[in-house]
Structures are given as structure tokens and as C-alpha cells.
Amino acid sequence: MNPARKRTVRLVVALSTAVVLASALIYTSFSAASPALTPTELVHQAQPGRSYQVTGTVVQGSVHRSGEQLYFSVEDRAGGTTIPLSYTGTVPDPFREGREVIVTVQKQGAGYVGERNSLITKCPSKYKTAPSSEQQNY
Amino acid sequence: MSLLVVALTLLLGLVVLVLSAPLRAARREAERGDADAAPSGGASEVSSQEAHRDTLQAREELRSRGELEAEREAKYREIRDAELDYRTGKLSRTDYEAIDAELRREALEILNRIEAAEEAGPESP
């Protein structure tokens, strides 16, 4: 095979591999992703067995702890639907009633169970230089 | 408040001074060029154009020389790298000699081009 032909073959192989890998990546991302919902949307759309990211405000007076489990309720940012959660795992420092949180949950019966270590609490001020998050691993 | 105005004026003045320095220098050069050349306006314009063309050409040569020198440095580095590759056992002797000869040929070609540029330089009108 002459050099020019060899180069073309190499290029085609490389490009095809890249396309295949990228497609695999893109395809799995859609199935592995958790949709981000508000509590109102969650109540309407949640199906058991799928995980969802719910964003909302911690309801005043709803936080209590029992052993390793943390129980609290989350409502829409603008008030409205409230959903009860039980959560295990690290609780970030800024977490308190009235703060905005994101937590990944799955529907279980009438309530929702938070995925371990998935609780993120918003820093109270509008902007911060802290680039690392309280988001948990695994 | 007045301190503020003073500070601002100073700052503004400084900035204008710094930014306009090259422009003023160029105008002084042009005027000096005019004074040296023939008093008529047309001739001084021509000579300043010539001076401009000369500097452009000089810059062009400097640029290509810079380029050639960078190529030369890169080529020397390649020769040294090839030798180090051979001495650390990554190339067989035959392969090394072939690559080394190739590189030296390329290096000499660059050296010739540099020489040609140097000779051409002082002779340009």
C-alpha cells in the first residue's frame, strides 16, 4: 500500500473510532442522567426506580434527625408543593431550614429517599469564589 | 473632592503622555527627515516613502532571519535528540546513522539559506 493510501486508511480508522466512542458516550449520558425537577414537577412525573434531582427550599420546622437518617421536606422555591425526604450521608455545612438545596432522590411509596451523599446546599451569598462544591462522591 | 479631580487629571495626563509618545517621536522623525531632504514638499514625501519602504524591507529580513535561526535551533536540537536516542538504546546503529545523515543534510540546507540571506542583506538597494 503506498504511503498516501496508508495515511488515508489511518485517518479513516481514527475518525471512525472517535465517532463510535463519542456516540456511545452521548447515548449513555441520556440514560444515565437524572432530570432536574422542582417538587411540583416531581410529584407529577416521578416514577419509582428512577432517580431525579430535585431543587427546592428546605421547609421551616421540617428538619429532624433520627440516628443516621435525616428527615426534612423540600418545597418549591416560590412556595407550593412540599415533599418529604429521608436522607443518609454527609450533610454540608450550609444546610439549614430555609436554604436552597439540590438532592438526588428516588420515589419510594409515598415519600422520597435521597441518594447517599447527594445533598448539595447553596451557599447563602449570591456569588462565591469557592470553585469546589459540597457535592458528594458516590 | 478636589483631590479626586487633581488625581484624575494627573492620571489622564500621564496616560495621554504614554500613549502619544511614539506618535510624537514619529512626527519628529518625519520632520527631521524633511529638514534633511530637499526643501520642496514633493521630494520630502518621496524620501519619507523610501525610508518607510527601507524599514519595511529591513523588518522583513529580520523576520526571515529570525525564522531561519529558529529552524536551525530546532534542527540542532533534533540532531542532539537523535544521538541521545541512539546512546540510550532506542535506535540501532544503522537506523541512527541514517537519521543522523538525514538531519545533518537538512541542517546544512538551513545553514546555506542563512548564509544566502546574510549575503543578500547588505547588497539590497
Partner: protein, 720 residues
Amino acid sequence: MAGLGYACLLLALGVCLYGIGASLYGVRSGRAEFSASGRRAVYALAGILTVAFAVLEVAFLRNDFAFNTVADTSSRTTPTFYRAAAVWSSQEGSLLLWAWLLSLWSSLALFLTRRRMREIASYATAILLGFGGFFIALMIFYANPFATTRPAPTEGAGLDPLLRFPTMMIHPPMLYSGYTLCTIPLAFGMGALLARRVEADWIKVIRRFAFAAWLALGAGILLGARWSYSELGWGGYWGWDAVENASLMPWLTATAFLHSLMIQEKRGMLKVWNISLVLATGTLAIMGTFLVRSGILNSIHAFGGATLGVPFVVLIATLIAGSIYLVVSRRDMLRSEHRLDSLLSRESMFIANNLVLVGLCFVIFWGTYFPLISEALTGQEASVGPPWFDRYTVPLALLLVLLSGIGPVIAWRRATLASARRNFIVPTGVALATLLALLASGVAGSPAAIAMFCCAAFVFGSVGQEFFRGTRARRAMAGESLPVALLSLVRRNRRRYGGYVVHIGIAVLFIGVAASSSFQHASELSLSPGQSTRVGAYTVRYVRPTATLTPRYDEAHTGSTLGLGAVLDVSKGGRHVTTLNPSEGFYASQDASQGSVGSLIGGQPVSHVSIDAGVTRDVWSAIAPDIEAPALQRIIKAGNATLSPEEALYALGYLARAYLKSPPPAQFHFIVSPLVMWIWIGGLIVFGGGLIAIWPAPSTVRRRVGARARARSVRGLARA
């Protein structure tokens, strides 16, 4: 004073506009004096922004609460060091820092190139001033750091306690330096395309700044990871958070560029690839800056609520469109001079390395921006979590480390297959020995981690072999003693051996990452004093509670008013391992509704983590004391009812005593992570190696080598 600051911004914007005009006119008309004036505009910009920055700094140090940013992020009780650094903790202040750093680095770049590359430099000047003007305009119209409120409040909100750590305050300037340094190669790259001159000289300048950007960004990223690990309460150093990813992406493309640039230098190949990498790095840096402040992605910072979104989107769209147009329209200039000689060559290893790095960048990009992508494509915003990222980045990271071990063994241009095979024996042997040792010692459960250990061992074997052989060759050639030979080997081949050191550092870093992620023991514990529990092989015992009272104006600490914590005794197999004392610091808030005592401790609480860092493992613990316990709450309520704000401090004393006497059970987060220290050590090694690689060879060496090489060339030709 605020007026002076704002006027400086206006002046700065004017200077930017003038500079852009002067540079462009200078390069199009050929009149050098206008290009020079344009360059001076950058110097002037640096001067003006220095004044503006100084005005803001002074305002912070003097507690001038008329300035909104000072009132929002500082207070009389914030210690001086943090007051000084609070300048960049707000949106406005950080924009000013970014613009100022940009002007400083641009001035340096243009000063160093003032005699060469006139046309390229003129275009680069215009582009850099364009960026500067953009950020200044943002400040003038959207987020003014010099906005004031009169009458001035008497006290500020204070710096968020989460930021009151030294690492956290060095991190932004370092990171911003990295970002702004990334824009300089972009400007020069675009300048080269605009001027239609892609010359060999250009490479040298761009390389230096790409390297500086790589160093600064790398430092910023590592500092952020270290802050996250040692000062945040979750015990991790990387969470695939959007903002972390945003800083990693340009670093990856910069790494790729530093490698492939060498190929362009040697063989005149990959010009399109390189210029694209340069443009991508700069664009990703701007996107990274944008991500932090725009609120388009959910991160710890912003939950929706776009603030500066639209102008940034316009800028980034312009950059991307402009880059594509320039590269496509100048593609004739960017034709390769040579072709790849052989697949078995260091050049092709570098290309493979580039592909892996860009692949990594693409995975991270996709995952980071996925919420936007999915919303655009499906109408539903969804996000991917760390497990998804790990699934793709781990194999790519393994491949990257493996390549860095293969590369040194292959020669430039065309390697001899037989030699290559021979050279693989030692590294493969080391890797296999490691595998056997690991399996024999019972390390199991994470194939990825074991694979990484073996790949790292391969790198050690390969690089070690290189150092050994190089030193041996040097001794054979020059008859020097062993240490001298090693030193002169490295001195004469800084790029190669510095690069080898960098690869060792990366391998060490990944060993730390693999061990600490795969073999970590983490637990949530709920303990009362005297109670102990088992975590894996360790026994943790709550020895006694601790309480510290820090006077309100104590400047030695971080300004916390009350600290509640515990002393933990950690032992393994009956033997004492370490003693930890994590605590939670409570800070004052401005919220009067919390009561006189409540507001003393009602601010953002911050975990003070206790770490015993060891060579083989870190023992880490954080505590969340139960401040909501009824006994403590009773004291707080009583204090609120009876004490005035000035007397409220006494209540803290009662609180502390009550906590010490009968502490409620506390929540502990307890982690034992193996080999974490090696992550930081690996990072330092990478730095050291980078410095070696970029250190300019002394000119005498270069001249001597040059003359010798020329003489040899002549002799060589005579032989032929």
C-alpha cells in the same frame, strides 16, 4: 475614593478602545508608531487598573462600608488577612481582579515581543484589549465594584466563613492568572492567522505563555482540590462539579498543546491541530470564567438566575465563530511540511497522547454542559453525576498514564522495532512484579485501581531506565562521576528529562487518586462521650468534648465566636494511631431577628476538619455538634430574652460550659483514605519537572553546542 475607582474604569475602557483602534490602524497601514502606541495602551491599562485595584483594596482594609462590595463581604470582625483577600470574593471584585491580571500578563507578553513579530503582536494587542474592554464594560454596566450606598452602613456582613482559609484566598488569583494566561496564546494565535504569518518564531513565544498558563492553572486546580479536602466538611478533593471541570478543561488542552507543539517545531506538522488547540484553550478559559458567574449550570454557586449570562454567551459565540473562520480561511498556510514517518515513533505517541487528552476534555465537556444540552435537545434538563464521569475518565486516565510510560522508550522519527521491544522488558517487568505483589498482599476489589498501580509502575520502570541509560551514556562520553553525569545529563536535555519528571509526578498523583478513591473507608458515626465504634480496622472513641470561645475581635483566628468540637482517639488493633480534634466554628450573623445571643452564632457554621496526614494514609474527621439540642437552645433563648447585644458574649460562656458538662451526641464523618498525601507530592513533582523543562538553557551551552553541531555537520557532509 469610589469616584476615583469608577473614573479609572471609565478611563480604562477608553484606553482599551483607543488601543484597539491604534493597533489595528498601525498594522493595516504599516505605521509602526501606531502599533507602538497601541502596545503602550496595554501598559497604560495595567497602570490604571492597578490604581483601581488599589482603591478597592484600601477600601477593604479601611472598612469603608460605603462601598457595597465591602459591606457585602467584609466586616470589622473579619481578620485583616481575609479582609484584604475579600476583594475578590464578590462578583464585582473578582471581575476587577481578572481584568487587572489580564492587563499585567498582557503587558509582560507584549513587552517581551516588542521587537519581533510586529504584525502578530499588533493583532494580539487588539484582541487582548478587546477582552480587557469586555470585562471592564461588564463592571461599568453590570457589576460595579465601586458602587456605593450612602449613608454608609456601620458594619458589614463579613467574609463567608467558608472562605476564611489561606488556601482559599490564594486559589482565585492563581486560577485567574491561569485563565488570563490562556488568553495570551489565543491572542497571538489569532494574530498569527490574521496577519497570515505562522512562523517558527511564533512558537517560542506562545510556548512560554502556554506553559505559564499550564503551571498557573495546574496550581489553581490543585489548590482548590486541597482546600476541598482539608477544609470543607465532605472529605473529598474532586467532585466533578461544574466549576472544577471548567478549570480542568483548558488545562487538558494546554497539556496537549505543549506536547504537539514539539512536533510542529521538529517536523512542521500538525499546524491546524495546534492552532485549534490554542484557540480552544483560550475559549475554554473564557467559558470557565463565565461558568462561575452566569448561573446557567447548577453548581454550589448559582442555582439558575443568570446574571452575566448574555454578554458572555455573545463573547464565546464570537470567539468560536471567529476561530473556525480564521482556521478554515487560512488553511493553505497551515499545510504540513512533512508527514508522519512511522507509527512507531515518538511523534505518533505524542499524537496518541493528544487524542486521549482531547478525548478526556470532550467527556468532561459533555458531562458538564449536559444539563444545557439535554434541555436544548429534549426540553428536559437533566444532569449526570460522578459515576458517569468516572466511567469514562478512568479508562482514559489509565491510557494516558500508560502512554507516558511508552513514550520515553520510543525514538523520534522512526524507532527500531527490535530496540523498542528490548526496551520494554524492564518497564513491563516492573509492572508485572507490582501486579504480583499487589495480588499476593491481598489488595483486591478494584481492578481499575490495580490497573492504575501497574501502569504507574510501568512509568517508573520506563523513566528510571531512561535516567539510568542516559547517565551511563553521559559517563561513557564525558567520563564524569555519577552525580555529575546525572546533573549534566538533565541540564543538557532539560526538555526531555524535565518532561520525564513531570510524568513521574503524574503517575504518583494518580497512584494517590486511585488508592484514595478505591480503598477509602468512610463512615457517618453518631457518638456520645466515652462511646467508641469500629470503622473497618480502626476503633474510634469519643474521648471528651471541646469548646473554644474566641473574642469577637480576635484577629489571630478566623473570627469565629464559638467553637464546639470533640477529641477523638483512633486506634488500630489496640495500638494508638492518632488523636483528632475536629470542631465546628460558629460565626456571627447580621440577622438581628435571631436575637442578641442567636445572632452571635447564627452565621454560616464552618467545619474545622482534623486530619492526621500520613505517608500511607490520612485519617480524617469532621464533626457536626448538635447545637439544636434542647439544653443549648434553652440557654440561647434565655440569653436572647434577657441580654443585650453587648452582654450577649457572656451567654456564649454559659453555652460552652453547658456543652462541656453534658454534651449531646454528635455526628461525626470519619474517613481513612490511603495514600492521599501522594496526590499533593505528585503535584509538587509535576511542578518541579515543569520548571526543569522550561528553564532556559544557559546561552553559553547553547552556543557551544551550536558551534560543535555545525562543525560536526560539515565533517558529516565531508564523510558523505
